[in-house]
Amino acid sequence: MSVLIEAREVAVDGPQGRLVEPVSLTLRPGVPLTIVGETGSGKSLLMQALMGTLPAGLQARGSARIDGEDFDLSAPGNMRRLWGRTIAVLPQEPWLALDPLMRAREQVAEVHHLVSLETAGGAHADADLETVGLARAAARLPGELSGGMAQRLAFSAARAGGATIQFADEPTKGLDTAMRDGIADLLIGRLGAEGGLLTVTHDLDLARRIGGELMVMLKGRIVEQGPASRLLAAPSHDYTRRLVAAQPSNWARRQGSQGSEAAVISARGLSVVRGGVRLFDGVDLDLRPGAITGILGRSGCGKTSLGNALLGLVPLSGGHVSRDPSILSHRFQKLWQDPPSAFARTQTIGRELNALARLHRVDRQRMDRLLKRLRLSPELLKRPPGQVSGGELQRIALMRALMVDPVFLFADEPTSRLDLITQQEVIDMLGEVVREEKLALLIVSHDGDLLERFCDDVVKLDHRDGTARQSN
């Protein structure tokens, strides 16, 4: 058989109209196919249509020949027998997809028993876990696994039914960039010459690493397709070009400023313990006006706590933080990872900003200037935060911080929930503001490429030995 999936004119309709325009695609053995797109581009819906798992209210169109059998995608009732046996699905955020009350080994073994009908299912499960390096975690519950381990467990459980075609839906979502290569290796490792791999992702680095064929999706349409290596090196469609350029590894290095002015905030021998675990110890920092300092580390390493400790939001267990005593405390500000959660949910943004303006006597003209500077439409202020996009909301949060004339800004993963192009816009804006306002910026991220190109100075936090290393 030369083709695993041959899909013709696959489309998805919602109650308000078409969400995915007709797409035809072919999945060949040994050649991975990756669909790249931003949030809302319809890439996951396309994959769900091919599996027959669209949510209620959505309707698939078109047909597909899967593993030599024809299916009408608009009537997906009989596609269920493909699950686990022909198509293995690695779900989004696998730590939520594992039964929280079942131990790791059993989650794999039950598939060997009940789907593959093997009598020695337990032994097979042990072998599977061994392969992905989880042998010692066999008796653990999903809550006791790290994100990467949960990913590998879900992978083993999904494949235990003997499927040859692998689907992966946003496999890097919610994971540190450092884990990306491991996931790509996991996915292509089992591909061989016979298997199939269809991946949906927003992550261009993952797509590059997986290789094979690439499709770029924008607003429900495929705008460009071709071999991954060629497409990512020389994109022809304008959108693909912007997408590739927005990748942090392709950014130009920011013109650094070697600030020689006195630090607005300094830390000596900083140490924080939370829940009985020492997050870091002996961290020294000097944050000067106009300078950008990055903190790099994996999730859970305490990088957010470090920034919070500087702002006095987290108690110190050692060392001290010194600020210029002549500067009022509200001029030390913060940007949050999840912009909607940083605003009062029940009132309009304008009302919140007006209250702030009254509190600190910010005049109308300054607010208008800031709106214009951050390229924000005044219309946005009439809405509650839930009705504003993440990128705009993060810029509004920046505006809110700028209203109180800050000297220091702690940005806690400010773009990790944003799409690539929006991320670049927000980061560029942040860089301009730092230069113009001469404020000291501390930015935390798990994306080394981003920090390396954006910051004057990067501190690496390593959870295991609890120390910080300054580089650059």
């Binding site: 798992t53 699950w83 686990g84 696998p94 039964d99 929280p100 009350l101 598939v111 459980a157 999904a158």
Partner: protein, 324 residues
């Protein structure tokens, strides 16, 4: 095992505080009654018939009642701590023997009601939870909302009028035969069944909507396998927690239903004791109800830690259940 120690420690402290609260309430009640305090306490110890002026004087002396209310209160609490509940002011029997006598009848009634409620509520709740939005599901939501608005005494009234007075199928009051049990148990069970069905429906619906339920199907398991291997296990803890908390409502229901149907249990005894200002009996029944709650919920906690070994499972389940 630290979670075990934590559960037992918490429940032990809870039992202690329940004892103190009941002690305070009954002590104030004792003091608020008109008449001679020492005489009443003596009567509480030895029964009214055996109480003489000398006995009262002895009590006054022994307890140092003249020393003020604080010491008297500490003594009162001390009696509770030693499980020395005294004697009924009405019958003269010890409170313990009265209560052990009545508790059997109450447990029979409550047990039958809970069993009935589970037999109705659990399957209906699971059935509707797996078919959220269906006609059966909407009917369940409607019925359970109406049942919540139906006080037990009204339900009992309706059942008596229909089955005892009109149809003459079952007796309206009495004790001893199975036919006497039917109406009170049904009265108690119907409201409980409706609430249990609703909570089971919410828990089942939540689990059926979860990513892990979906992933289990993607792994290739059949609906049946997914439900029995991943559904039941995750539905049980919140439902058990709910059942444990329902003990208070059950106790309240027992009081009302026993009084209406003349069922000789501790609820009936409590109303009698209140009526006759029999403080030791009120205290005894209050302690049995409060400590019964603690005991049932300890067992629920222990059962849940077996099903859900995560340390934080209990607290999150509890928080989620309050307004189901």
């Amino acid at each position: 095992m630290s979670s075990l120690a934590r559960i037992l420690g918490f429940r032990l402290a809870q039992a202690g505080v329940v004892g103190v609260i009941v002690g305070i309430a009954t002590f104030v009640m004792m003091r608020a009654l008109p008449g001679d305090l020492a005489f009443r306490i003596a009567a509480g110890r030895y029964g009214y018939d055996n109480t003489t002026a000398e006995a009262a004087a002895q009590v006054r002396d022994e307890l140092g009642l003249d020393q003020g209310p604080l010491l008297a209160f500490l003594d009162w609490i001390g009696d509770i701590a030693r499980f020395d509940l005294g004697r009924s002011l009405v019958s003269g029997e010890t409170v313990w023997s009265e209560i052990t006598h009545q508790l059997g009848a109450s447990l029979q009634l409550a047990g039958a009601a809970v069993l009935l409620a589970m037999l109705i509520g659990l399957p209906v709740g699971i059935w509707c939870g797996l078919r959220a939005g269906s006609t059966a599901d909407r009917l369940l939501i409607l019925i359970s909302s109406a049942a919540r608005a139906m006080p037990q005494f009204l339900l009992g009234l309706v059942l008596i009028v229909i089955f005892a007075v009109q149809l003459r199928l079952l007796p309206a009051a009495g004790h001893g035969d199975v036919k006497h049990l039917v109406l009170p148990a049904l009265t108690l069970a119907l409201g409980l069944a409706a609430a249990l069905a609703r909570i089971t429906r919410e828990a089942t619906h939540g689990v059926a909507q979860s990513s892990y339920y979906e992933f289990a199907r993607w792994k290739g398991l059949s609906d049946r396998q997914v439900f029995f291997r991943h559904g039941l296990r995750n539905i049980t803890p919140p439902v058990l927690t709910y059942l444990g908390l329902q003990f208070v409502l059950l106790a309240e229901g027992v009081v009302v239903v026993e009084t209406i149907f003349g069922w000789p249990g501790i609820g009936h005894a409590l109303i009698h004791a209140i009526f006759h200002r029999d403080v030791p009996m009120v205290q005894g029944t209050a302690l049995v109800m409060g400590l019964g709650f603690v005991l049932i919920n300890t067992l629920v906690d222990l059962a849940i830690t077996r099903i859900d070994p995560r340390g934080d499972g209990r607290s999150s389940n509890r928080a989620g259940i309050e307004h189901g």
